[in-house]
């Protein structure tokens, strides 16, 4: 089957057709889905759409689009050095090609292109549901980690515009915590810059990154910034909801980042976020979360879901898969990239880089 198809690179000229093939995937309507593709693959500050591939039928008259595998750029840093790593993401397969080799053939084309260009790894932070077939195809599971789930009443949280949430003094840190609907780029970048690294690989976050993420046309973001009496930024928190769901709709609210200079400020941000955010379920990764933050979540009745190592049990949990492309030499600064303890998720509590 696959030999009859053509797999090529994807360009923005293909976006309209992609949206038509799978208009329901992102639920943003034709315009919203098109804007999402433009944002994620064309406006990404680290990588354009060069590794996103599409498959077409062999028809010479009108080659029909049959699938897409998206690859976007994520930027990581260790000891002051930065490296861009591509991430596998949105997948679209025409109905008649599901449960066929098409998905894997498109991924193989992505791997070929990465290998050709000397890119050593492809990451996948995708849902656990995709894990088994990828492990069979030679991917490695770096790890699975736990998350907390706080379930709330339908009318919980702040009602009204987010930026009208009253400024609150954190009970642990004494910081003044204020809401914003747009990212305070300077404050957030300042906090990240001043939080020391610990030798592990962490997401590189700067103004360009925050600005890009905030431009996701299918997302709603909620920001909190903690400041000292003197006005210095002490921490920030970013939460995400689907932009195509209502505040009390079925999709979860996810705390995607919580970075702070102190564990106390971090705990205050977590508490106010879980008290104020919309949504009936608030999720947060707990890997690398300080005890003070875990304590706040426990006091709020969080359910802590920990990995078992069994794919049948761990499906709801976040994970990282990695695939070596075969490009050599592998990046010298990341010899331990396939070990979970090499990754620093202290400030990242959800899939914040997409």
């Amino acid at each position: 089957m696959g030999s009859e198809l053509t797999i090529t690179g994807c360009t923005p000229a293909d976006y309209a057709e992609i949206c038509t093939l799978q208009e329901g995937l992102w639920a943003g309507g034709p315009d919203g889905n098109h804007a999402y593709l433009e944002w994620k693959y064309h406006a990404n500050p680290y990588l354009d759409e060069r590794y996103t591939v599409i498959a077409r039928s062999p028809s010479t008259e009108r080659a029909e689009l049959l699938g897409m595998v998206g690859v976007f750029g994520s930027c990581w840093e260790r000891d002051g050095r930065r490296i861009t790593l591509p991430c596998l993401t949105d997948t679209i397969i025409a109905g008649e090609y599901r449960n066929s080799p098409l998905f894997h053939e498109m991924v193989d084309e992505v791997l070929f292109r990465l290998r050709r260009d000397g890119v050593p790894w492809l990451l996948d932070f995708g849902d656990q549901g995709t894990v088994p077939a990828m492990l069979i195809r030679g991917w490695r599971q770096v790890g699975v980690w736990g998350q907390s789930v706080v379930t709330r009443a339908a009318d919980a949280g702040h009602h009204g515009p987010w930026d009208e949430l009253p400024v609150t003094r954190g009970v642990r840190s004494g910081s003044l915590i204020s809401p914003t609907c747009t990212p305070d780029l300077d404050a957030m970048a300042e906090v990240v810059r001043d939080v020391p690294t610990d030798g592990r690989i962490r997401v590189a976050r700067d103004s360009a990154y925050f600005d890009w993420r905030a431009s996701n046309p299918l997302a709603k973001y909620y920001y909190l910034v903690a400041r000292s009496e003197a006005g210095s930024a002490e921490g920030y928190l970013v939460a995400h909801r689907s932009g195509v769901d209502t505040d009390q709709g079925p999709t979860p609210t996810t705390v995607v980042e919580c970075e702070a200079r102190s564990a106390e400020a971090c705990a205050d941000l977590i508490q106010i976020a879980h008290e104020s955010l919309p949504g009936t379920r608030v999720l947060m990764w707990t890997r690398d979360l300080a005890d003070a933050g875990v304590g706040v979540l426990a006091d709020m009745g969080a359910e802590f879901i920990e990995p078992t190592g069994r794919p049948t049990q761990d499906r709801p949990l976040p994970s990282l898969l990695i695939r070596e492309t075969g490009a050599f030499p592998l990046a010298a600064e990341l010899p331990d990239v396939s070990r979970l303890d090499a990754w620093d998720f202290r400030g990242v509590s959800g899939r914040g880089w997409r």
């Binding site: 449960n99 080799p101 088994p132 077939a133 069979i136 069994r310 049948t312 761990d314 499906r315």
Partner: protein, 88 residues
């Protein structure tokens, strides 16, 4: 049906053949049919396969077990299940 722990290797193979035919909606699958290259089993089907194996044979399948050596053909899955049962 006999308890999974009591099945002979041949009976495990027959059980797996029936199970995979159910998942793939096929009447028969050759013993050397390549589940990796065919792409016929998607992740949801693999998860259902794992659940059925864990339930039938009382084994725990870990992420480290999920590789092409263990899950490429009916034959390789048979060997894996029989080896895994010994660990129980």
């Amino acid at each position: 049906m006999k308890d999974g722990l009591a099945l002979t290797e041949s009976e495990v193979r027959d059980y797996l053949h029936t199970l995979l035919c159910d998942l793939l909606l096929r009447e028969s699958i050759p013993a050397d049919h390549d589940l990796k290259d065919s792409g016929a089993l998607n992740s949801i089907m693999f998860l259902e396969l794992f659940v059925r194996l864990e339930t039938q044979f009382g084994i725990h399948i870990t992420a480290a077990d999920v590789n092409q050596d263990n899950f490429r053909t009916v034959e390789s899955i048979t060997r894996f299940v029989c080896a895994k049962r010994v660990e129980v």
